[in-house]
Every structure is written in structure tokens, then in C-alpha cells.
Amino acid sequence: MTPLKNIIRKNKFLDFLFIVLSSFFLLFSLLMLTLLILDLAVTGLPRISWAFLFSFPSRFADKAGILSAWVGTTCVMGVTALTAIPLGIASGIYLEEYAQKNWMMHLIEINISNLASVPSIVFGLMALGIFVYTLGLGHSILSAGLTLGLLILPIVICTTREAIRAVPGYIREASYAVGATQWQTIRDHILPYSTGGILTGIMIALCRAIGETAPLITIGALTFIAFLPHSLLDPFTVMPIQMFNWTSRPQEAFHVNAAATGIILLGMTLSMNAVAIYVRTSFRKKIQW
């Protein structure tokens, strides 16, 4: 009897040990996230002021600001959203509602899932070859926006498809039964029901685009811009690039600027994520099948 009890005790102990270990890992990763935010906040928050937000970059760390960076980010995001949202939703609708199962659709699906894991810097090289030199758009806001738009396209497509897939089939059948065409069904029934999911996807995708640095460096974003853009073909800088530039300088004072930019950037991405999660849950509560 005792050896059996021993085995049971040992197994229960191991089970307990696993709980301890995994809770430790969980706490550790959440702790690292907290440390990261705290580190940036402690260094950067005191630096944030109206002057910092509304000054151009400068050789002197205490006079430098991020005006051109956040204006650039806003313009680039506008182009990105205009590219990725219509294209992504349209292609998500086609793949989910119209496409027949044949080799071509299979190819498109494999292609999208592969595209989602292509490194972002490779998109930057593609954009350098196509937008900057072949199409002659130059190192401009337009090139940058298009690049990021194509980069987040797979995310928008996948989330749109998931949202549409969650609409039950009887909604479609009911609509067809009263004589609606396929497009009428999609426009008046499928899309309204899947808005929550699609919005969440768009928000997560844009959040990814805001923080993206590498592809914009390859297409030639400038790190020092002391004017505001007048057209979409003007050169640009964005917040992550400004932060990268300040981080890679040796002087401590510029690191403070980098931290301040970082905490603003982090605030933007984390709050967008929080909104996305909120939208998802609130729509989930509103629609019950």
C-alpha cells in the first residue's frame, strides 16, 4: 500500500510543481512588460511637453521635438488605411462568399497565409524596387503608406474572413428566400453582422503598421526633417524612425527623447489594442445567435 501512496504523492507533487513553474513564467513575462513600460515612463514622461510635441528635431537634444514625426505618422497611416481597408475587406468578402473551391482559390489562400509571415523588411525591399524606382513615387509619404498598406493587407483579409465566417448560414438562406441577390445579402445582412470582427481586425492591423520601422527605413525615410509635408510626394519621417534615430545616438540626452517618443508610441498602440478588444467583446455581447 505504501509504494502506491508514494507514487500518488510524487505525482501530485509534480503537478503542483508544474503550477508553480508556469505561474512563475506567466508572472515573469507580465513583469517584463511592466518593467518595459515603467522604464520608458520614468525616463520619458518628464520630457513630454507641448514644446516637445510641437518642435522639429534638432541637433540639441533639449530643443528637439517630434512634430514632423507625428504628422508623418498620421499622413502615412491615412494612406495605409485607404489602401488596406477597402482591398482587404473586398478580398475577404470574395474569398468567403463567392470563391469556389478550386486550385486557384487554394493558391490564393496559401499565398495569403505565406504573405502574413514574410518579414516586413522584405516588403520594404519590394517597395523600394517597385514604388520608389519603377513607379517613380520617390522616398515619399505615398510610397510609405502603400508599403505598410500591403504589409497589413493579409491581417485585414484574415480577420474579415473570420468575421464573415462567424455569420450563420441561415441568415444568408433567409435573405435569398425573400429574393435578395448575393450582393444585397452581403451588403444588408452579412456585413452589418460582421462589422465588429472587421473593425477589430482593422484596428489590430493599423496598430501593427504604426510601430513598423524596418520597411520604411529601406524605402528611404529621412531621420531629420524640419518641415511639414505639403503633398503626398514629400519626404517624410515617422515616430518609430525618430525613436530609432535617437536611440542609436551615443548621448544620454537623446535617449531621454527616445524614451519620450517610445512612451507616446506605446500609449498609442496599447490603447488601440485595448479599444480593439473592447469592440470585439461589446459586439459579441450585442449579437447572440
Binding site: 509534480l14 503537478d15 508544474f18 503550477i19 513553474l21 508556469s22 513564467f25 515573469f28 513575462s29 522604464d39 520608458l40 482591398l87 473586398a90 478580398s91 470574395y94 474569398l95 463567392y98 470563391a99 490564393i108 499565398n111 495569403i112 497565409s113 505565406n114 504573405l115 509571415s117 514574410v118 518579414p119 516586413s120 523588411i121 522584405v122 520594404g124 525591399l125 519590394m126 523600394l128 524596387g129 493587407l153 441577390t181 448575393q182 450582393w183 504604426i210 510601430g211 520601422t213 524596418a214 527605413i217 529601406t218 528611404g220 531621420t223 518609430p240 525613436m243 530609432f244 536611440t247 542609436s248 535617449h255 527616445a258 524614451a259 517610445g262 508610441l265 506605446l266 496599447l270 489594442n273
Partner: protein, 301 residues
Amino acid sequence: MKTFLNRNRSHTRIKEKLIKGILFLASLCSVFITGGIVFILVTQSLPFFKTVSLTQFFLDTQWTPLFSDAHYGIWPLISGTFLTTSIALGLAIPMGIIMALFLSEYAKTNVREMIKPALELLSAVPTVVYGYFALLFITPLLQNWIPSLSGFNVLSAGLTMGMMIIPFISSLSEDAFHAVPMSLREGSYAMGATRLQTAVRVVIPAAFSGVTASVILGISRAVGETMIVAIAAGMQPNFTWNPLEPAQTLTAYIVQVSLGDLPHGTLGYHTIFVAGLTLFLITFVFNVIGHTFRLKFREMY
């Protein structure tokens, strides 16, 4: 009345066809993007391989294309990439899988619903912020224990990258564990197994291809990661296996060259496309393997 309906119907039919056509074109877009990527990488790499022979590319152990004494051996960049990736995965694989097991086998639903979004925030942090954190927080921290650590090093870049990849591996693995039918677990519990025994001997084997997919897609993510290594690992192509030294990855090389003003069309300009092509091929192989495992897992249950 009848003719009106008929006319209206043919009008609707044309509109339906038109909309379908437009949506179809939009869905073809992704194919054009892949086509564009392959086309640009290949055509822009060709001029490089006209000057530099493949033996030089694969056998030389130095990568100094921008120096006057130019060497074109790709290995220093590959070794740098391999080293950062291994360190990142050495941290992310065990932590990711153990956390996924905990969330799917142990945690109550409300705990899981709280922790999952918090973990996902880890991957929402912009990579340039991680780069800052690696260079100005992790490295000084590690230097307390390892005084010989240089200011730019592979170790802290790799560890920070691991942190970023944890949620990626844990959420995909958790989905895989979640999809394992309850009946398998119940069978194991009925034989008197503990949760840990069930997790290790029943759930992990049953979800094996799903877990493999998460790991492989994690590798692909780590190989392509750019800003963390560009900021924290230094910018020297260094053929080394020592994580305490600085090194350069394929991605960081592209960043370094793009930051300088290299004229369009020079050999140096083409080298970034060669690095990009190498990177694309490596990640492509991992992506294809990863997605195959994922599909296999989906078919199983």
C-alpha cells in the same frame, strides 16, 4: 409590369457580375504582391551574381561589401541570424509551451480570459521600443552579471526577441491544445492520471503538429525580426558563435545599408536585395513547413 421587372432584373444581373468581378480583382492583389516580391528580389540580385561568383558567396567567411577590400561571403550574416534566433527560441519555446499548457489545462476560464489579452500586448509593443529596451535596459542589467559583455551583443537582442515571440508561440499552441477532444483527457483522468501526466502524455502528443507549427512559425518570425537586432546587436558582420559579442543579422545589414546614402544601381545597392532574397528563401521554407503542420493538425480534429 412584367417588362419593368425584366429590365430591372437584367440590370441587377449586370451589377452583380460587376461587383463580383471587382471583388475578384481585389483578391488577386495578394498574388501580385508575392509576385512583386519575388520579381524584385530576383531581378535586383542578378547583377550581384554577375560580379560575384557563387563559390565566393558561399565559401568566403567575410562580409565586407562596402569596404575597398571587398569580401562577399554570406556566412557572417547567416551565423548572426542563426545565433539571435536560437537565443530567442531558447527562451520562447519552453516558456511559450508551458504557459500555453497552463492556460489550456489548468487555468479557469475567467483567469484565461484575463491573461490572454495581457500576453498579446507583449506582441503589440513596437519592435523599435523593444530595441530601446534591449540596448538600454537588458544589456546594462546583464552587464552586472557578465562584466565581459560588450555594449552591443547578441545575447540581450536575442532574449528581448524571445520575449516578443512568447505570445506568438503560446497563443498558437494554446489553440492546438484547446482543439484536443475532451474525451481523450477524460480517458486519461479515468485511469487516475494527474493533470500534468495527462498534459504531457496525452494532450501534447495529440496536439503535436499544432505545437510544431507554432514553433516553426515562431522561428520564421525571429529570423525576419529587424529592429531589435539592428539596435541592440551592433552592426558588425562577425563570423562568431559567441553570444557575448556583437554581430550582424541579414535584416540588420539591410537596415545599415539603407540608412546610408547608397546610389541606386551600384553593387552595394544590389547586396541588400541579395540579403533580402536569402532571408525570403529561409523564411519561405519555414513558413511552408509550418503551414503544412498546421493544416495537418486542423484535418485531424
